[in-house]
């Protein structure tokens, strides 16, 4: 019998007439696709279509094609389902994958349209006139309390103002991606970009490497169930602290960073021995209910000198009630990760079938918090496939304060969304710890690319605000009146609080 029934997904085509026989493709490929025998010889079955070889081939003689192999038509038993069964029959394993849910569920952002001004109110020129994106992440009081200052004016009464908030120059931050799942150079790139753009990066659950200490005012330090690298020093360094309950790509599932990825640096950052598996339990074993969450939130506040503490959850069916509980438990922000959010590794069955879209989660959480009169008590961070500045604007109009981007930032660094992060062989040097691969990202180069992306999206947000005739992001936040739906069913539109186009 053959070792596998599964045929290669791609075909690597080399135009040998053009090929320089330089061997660069062999050197660049992290998957071991190429042998070299006077000329490169590809092994199609190893190809992930990551385009590293294509990009670096000096002769432009490589192309990757989809394997045209025909499967007997069957809409029910798709080729990918047949391959999944073969894979599991061969191995008995849980199918592991990475990146966000690629299945063809409706993409609600693509069914929402923004408004613009014509005549009765003016659009505002975003290049010449002020167009403010500054956002404060954290808890706001119900009202500002002032007292006379004795000179005819007023001053803040004791404790009457805004408590500790993190100032963001633009409402976009980086989502948590741990050192371990991504390389140190990726972490450095994100931290440097966060500092340059006046925003935040997020350690993820793998601790804070000392090379990032200079950027700590722009870092959210995460506390997850594995508690890797968590200590008082870590908590005190961050601009804010985040309790990770769940992740959009794998709600209810823990994590597992294999021992071979725990090299010396990862080991010291996570504070675990080299070569041991880093296992994140599915739940926090000190949080079995909402009052336990409150206990942990305040433990972190006490330990850190009352830094803002946020809570990240996956968007699941009852997200509004859960978020309300989180806010009442004292969280300064609620991070909602939609079902299309990315991951470094997740069971495909969970990634592809669990959770709800972030658009819905934002809408119901924002509305619920308003109905309960506690919307001001916490910021909403929305993530889970924010793909463009248009998605940012729509998420904010639905009610988010801030969005977090992970995949988009990695794409800026070279990621081609080949969905193979879990292999640790990323040819682009992103989701790997192999030194010959991680050195492919120079942090300075990476920081510039990611900063460019944030700046470009921020400019585009300003263009959108200007067209909407408002000059501050808070006037778009939660302003669903500026959205219309197209091609959404009535019930979904109602849940989103958005009227259909034409109304």
């Amino acid at each position: 019998m053959p070792a596998t029934f599964i045929q290669p997904e791609f075909r690597v085509k080399i135009d040998y007439d053009k090929c320089h026989k330089c061997g660069r493709c062999v050197q660049q490929c992290g998957w071991g696709v190429y042998d070299f025998n006077e000329r490169p010889i590809p092994h199609d079955e190893k190809c992930r279509a990551c385009h590293r070889c294509v990009t670096f081939c000096p002769a432009h003689c490589i192309t990757i094609e989809r394997n045209p192999l025909a499967y007997r038509d069957n809409d029910n038993w798709s080729a990918s389902l047949r391959k999944a069964v073969w894979k599991q029959a061969e191995t008995g394993g849980v199918l592991l994958t990475s990146m966000g849910n690629p299945q063809p569920y409706p993409r609600i952002f693509d069914h929402l349209l923004l408004d613009a001004c014509q005549v009765t109110n003016p659009s505002i020129d975003p290049l010449r006139e002020p167009m403010e994106l500054r956002t404060y992440l954290g808890r706001k009081p119900d009202a500002v309390k002032v007292e006379p200052d004795g000179a005819g004016g007023f001053r803040l009464a004791e404790g009457g103002g805004m408590s500790r908030n993190v100032e963001l120059a633009t409402p976009i931050i980086f989502s948590p991606m741990s050192y371990g799942s991504v390389s140190l150079n990726v972490h450095k790139s994100l931290a440097m970009a966060a500092e340059r753009c006046g925003i935040l990066m997020n350690t993820g659950e793998g601790g804070l490497h000392e090379d990032l200490y200079p950027y700590q005012d722009h870092v959210i330090v995460q506390v997850a169930s594995g508690r890797f690298g968590v200590g008082p020093d870590y908590l005190k360094r961050g601009a804010a602290i985040e309790i990770k309950i769940g992740q959009g790509a794998k709600p209810g599932i823990g994590g597992h960073l294999p021992g071979e990825k725990i090299n010396k640096e990862v080991s010291s950052t996570r504070m675990i021995p080299q070569g041991t598996d880093a296992i994140s339990p599915a739940p926090h074993h000190d949080i079995y209910s909402i009052e336990d969450l409150r206990q942990l939130i305040y433990a972190l506040k006490e330990a850190s000198g009352y830094k803002p503490v946020g809570v990240k959850i996956a968007a699941v069916h009852n997200v509004a009630a859960i978020a309300s509980g989180i806010v009442r438990a004292g969280a300064d922000y609620v991070y909602l990760d939609g079902f299309r959010g990315g991951t470094g590794a997740a069971p495909a069955v969970i990634r592809d079938h669990v959770g709800i879209p972030v658009e819905i989660a934002i809408a119901v959480v924002d509305q619920r918090l308003r109905e309960e009169g506690i919307r001001n008590q916490a910021s909403i961070v929305a993530a889970g496939s924010i793909r463009s500045s248009a998605d940012v604007a729509k998420a904010i109009a639905l009610g988010a304060d801030v969005v977090a981007i992970g995949t988009a930032a990695l794409i800026a660094l070279g990621c081609h969304v080949c969905q193979s992060c879990h292999t640790g062989n990323c040819s682009w040097g992103i989701t790997t710890q192999k030194p010959e691969l991680t050195r492919r990202i120079d942090p300075e180069w990476g920081a510039e690319r990611v900063s460019n992306l944030i700046n470009a999206w921020s400019h585009e947000l300003q263009e959108i605000l200007g067209a909407l005739g408002v000059n501050a992001i808070e006037s778009l936040r939660g302003s669903r009146e500026r959205l219309r739906s197209i091609g959404l069913d009535e019930q979904t539109s109602r849940i989103l609080g958005v009227k259909p186009a034409g109304m």
């Binding site: 290049l127 010449r128 470009a456």
Partner: protein, 269 residues
């Protein structure tokens, strides 16, 4: 006698009389259409000097008029869009002017002996606007020069935000002298924001926070003063002011750093 509805303006022809070479209209309570009709008729009949008395808010005085040696004197408060699209005449206001003075004006002169409002000189193509006192927001916005047409605006008082916004050509001058707001800075913020042509001169200094990111600020040099002095001379002569006093402080020159300030903003798909 039954009480009548109070009217702001009546749709009647203005009373007309002549005084020497001037045709004088009494605008008191007259709607702008009848007033401007009367002015146009007088111009067509060959009048070279027209006086509008008791003006109070009538819009569009001098708007669209094309004539070379015509003078219109407005006594009172000139309404919105004074001298809009005007090409040639001189309009002199003894009083204040409201918003939109010299809107897209082509040529001619406007002299305002009082203050003027917002959006003065929007898209102005040529001619001169001289204001004795303060002006409002967005003054000199998108003035532009083309070949022989070079618009000039001189404001004697202070200006609010967005002075010279999008400015593409011509000369904008701000003196900060005859003002109701002695404690305020000479201009507001966003001075010259989006400026990509022309020049702004401010008497005295400006702070960096006031200026748009597209401009460079320097002391006015000899060449600047050579261009500015005849303009100020004409300004002072028009308003009966002392040129020496105006020139007693150094001027600041504000000019665009680039003719294409947004060249790097876009990436082509």
């Amino acid at each position: 006698m039954p009480i009548q509805v109070i009217e702001g303006y009546r749709q009647v022809e203005p009373a007309r009389r002549t005084e020497g070479d001037a045709v004088v209209f009494d605008a008191n309570g007259v709607y702008y259409q009848q007033l401007n009709d009367a002015i146009r008729a007088a111009v067509e009949a060959g009048a070279k000097r027209i006086v509008v008395e008791n003006a109070n808010g009538q819009r569009y005085i001098g708007a669209g008029l094309q004539a070379k040696d015509l003078t219109i004197e407005v006594r009172g408060t000139a309404g919105n869009d004074l001298a809009a699209f005007m090409d040639g005449p001189k309009v002199e206001v003894f009083g204040n002017a409201q918003d939109g003075v010299g809107n897209t004006m082509a040529s001619g002169t406007v002299v305002v002996h009082g203050d003027a409002g917002d959006v003065l000189g929007y898209g102005m193509r040529g001619g001169r606007v001289f204001v004795r006192g303060d002006v409002g927001y967005r003054v000199g916005i998108h003035m532009k020069a083309y070949e022989g047409l070079v618009p000039i605006v001189v404001c004697g008082g202070k200006a609010r935000d967005f002075f010279g916004e999008y400015m593409a050509g011509g000369m904008l001058v701000l003196l900060g002298m005859n003002t109701q707001f002695p404690d305020d800075p000479v201009a507001g913020g966003f001075l010259g924001t989006g400026m990509h042509g022309g020049v702004i001169y401010v008497r005295g200094a400006v702070e960096p926070w006031q200026c748009g990111k597209e401009v460079g600020v320097s002391e006015a040099e000899e060449a600047d003063m050579a261009a500015l002095t005849p303009v100020l001379d004409e300004y002072c002569a028009s308003l009966g002011l002392d040129l020496a006093e105006v020139l007693s402080e150094p001027f600041t020159r504000i000019a665009p750093v680039s003719h294409r300030p947004y060249g790097k903003l876009y990436a082509y798909l």
